[in-house]
Amino acid sequence: MRRGIFLIAALALLWAGCDSSDPIDNTSPGTVVLSFSFEVDGEPLGFDDSSFSYVNAAGDTYWVSTLRYYISDVVLYDSDGDRHEIDGFHYVDAEDASTLSYTLSDVPGGEYTAVTFFLGLDEEKNLPNSLPTTTENLNMAWPIPMGGDVWGYHHLKLEVNYINPVIPAEPPFNAHLGLDNYVTVRKLPFPETARVDANTMELTLSMNVNEWWKTPNTFVFADHPPMIMGMPPLQRLLADNAADAFTVKAVTLRD
């Protein structure tokens, strides 16, 4: 009987020893937090009035009133180049601090090198009344007479005013994307490889608002009407511009 007890104790010690000395072979799931920040060519984005004005690629001076969008279907790339897709979505309002982080739980452990996601909702998610009936989601609904019986939501609301020598009173431009005009964000490399292993990996994602107006389609606000929800091809041009609007500024690991 006593020998049996010793044997069990020895096995338990061996097990514990292996566990603590070899974390690489026993990588545990962890948490990934996407933190959202905003800039315009290196300047922090400020909101609402002409004291926060910026110049786009076409030379238009503009300022931002509203920046709201969805992020969905985050994909992490591991060091072997394999994709790990995390199904889900998250609403971001650049002026509401409570929306500026998106927590992904139970992310498989391993070394990661890059991330991508949709800005907006793909065809599987962008369905009428498919999201929970929160005030935010209801305010992002795409109206029925404009296709909302098929497509559920705005992907993005980016509302600006700009200065134009011909058009009086600082006209608006409302970049509202919907229908199938979500953005497939390019693969964003991390500044350095990072390991998920029973810890939290925070990715600081910065959106450069000027990228919306830049490449491949230089955007001149005055060339377009102030509202474009009824102009899907124009929405597509903006969505294509935004593919490289994001960068991973930092990767932070926490226990």
Binding site: D49, N139, A141, P145, A169, N174
Partner: protein, 354 residues
């Protein structure tokens, strides 16, 4: 060892037996006491109704709130009730441009429509200065231009009243009346201001159809031609957010910036719900438009280049024709909910409390 195991098993069987047989051999469990929980049905498509954990809805709480809402005891000179400026047949708004408080003192903003006010969290008042109904209620009670009441005096009056102590006991299981309980009861009653039976709702459910004019108005409302839906979308017909819609080139009311201190919020006001809007004249935060046609006409031709004009509003308006204004008005009429406006449960209680 085996004896111990058997003894343990026997004890477990005995315990299980006692548990299972308790309902037949033991005394009946006591009847639950205290206020009766009230479950409010959330209309289809609405967000969940925010209800604070420390103020659950109860039948007795709503009944007490209803009595308080219609009782002028809340005002300093016992002349003004909540309902004096929030009239049920006007969707709990005030047909006067600004309300008159005690001694006929003029307020400075139009009393808002309280339809579906339970979903207004966390932004109540035109400037959003209260974050819940419980936080909102005390404001008009003590406001000099409204009820001009002293809470200490009010609580003493209620405490010495022939009926209220018993009503508070029924609602909150205490006869000790406090400001907290007065506000909780009023908030509970206001959460029952639910309107979702307008013609619009019946059309949504396939139980009715729009007339041609209503259908054209619906199309205008929910496209960028009329550009109404971004701030007044379905189902609440408010985005619970703040906007400058170009009423004045130089607004004289700071609006939202009184709360946030942000220059960029100057002249912004909360989008009111458009449910029951046909009965809530006059319109805008200052009641400047006497008719709904004038209010709609503002969006057709009126917006001025104010400092924080919302990008969704065009200077000079959307250029709507008279026909289009008529069609929008026809659509807005479909948001009127007679069942809500005539709901006897939202009128003053009668002598027997019904």
């Amino acid at each position: 060892m085996i004896r111990f195991v058997l003894a343990g098993l026997t004890a477990m069987v005995l315990l299980a037996g006692c548990d299972g047989g308790g309902s037949t051999v033991g005394p009946d469990p006591p009847e639950p006491t205290g206020p009766t929980p009230l479950e409010l049905a959330t209309p289809a498509g609405f967000p969940p109704l925010p209800i604070p954990a420390d103020n659950p809805m109860t039948v007795e709480g709503v009944a007490l709130g209803r009595r308080l809402f219609f009782d002028p005891i809340l005002s300093g000179d016992n002349s003004i009730a909540c309902a004096s400026c929030h009239r049920p047949n006007a969707a709990f708004s005030d047909p006067r441009r600004v309300s008159l408080g005690v001694a006929d003192r003029e307020g400075f903003r139009n009393a808002p429509n309280l339809t579906n006010i339970g979903w207004a969290n966390p932004r109540l008042f035109w400037d959003g200065r209260a974050e819940s109904l419980e936080e909102q209620v005390p404001h008009p009670v003590v406001d000099f231009d409204e009820m001009d009441q002293d809470w200490g005096e009010l609580l003493a009056e209620l405490q010495n009243h022939a009926a209220y102590p018993a009503l508070f006991e029924a609602a909150f299981e205490t006869t000790q009346i406090t400001q907290d309980l007065v506000t909780k009861a009023l908030a509970q009653f206001e959460r029952t201001f639910i309107s979702a039976e307008a013609k619009f709702d019946r059309v949504q459910r396939g139980e009715a159809t729009f007339t041609d004019a209503e259908a054209r108005g619906f199309e205008l409302f929910f496209t960028e031609r009329g550009e109404c839906f971004h701030c007044h979308g379905n189902p609440l017909f408010t985005d619970n957010d703040f906007h400058d819609i170009g009423l004045d080139a130089a607004p004289d009311d700071a609006g939202r910036s009184d709360v946030t201190g942000k220059r960029s919020d100057y002249g912004k006001f909360k989008s009111p719900t458009l449910r029951n809007v046909t009965v809530t004249a006059p319109y805008m935060h200052d009641g400047r438009f006497a008719t709904l046609r004038e209010a709609v006409q503002h969006y057709a031709t009126g917006p001025r280049p104010s400092p924080n004009l919302d990008p969704l509003i065009l200077v000079g308006g959307f250029g709507l024709s008279e026909q289009e204004v008529d069609d929008l008005l026809a659509f807005l009429e479909t948001l009127t909910d007679p069942a809500f406006l005539n709901n006897p449960a939202l009128r003053p209680p009668t002598v027997n409390g019904q």
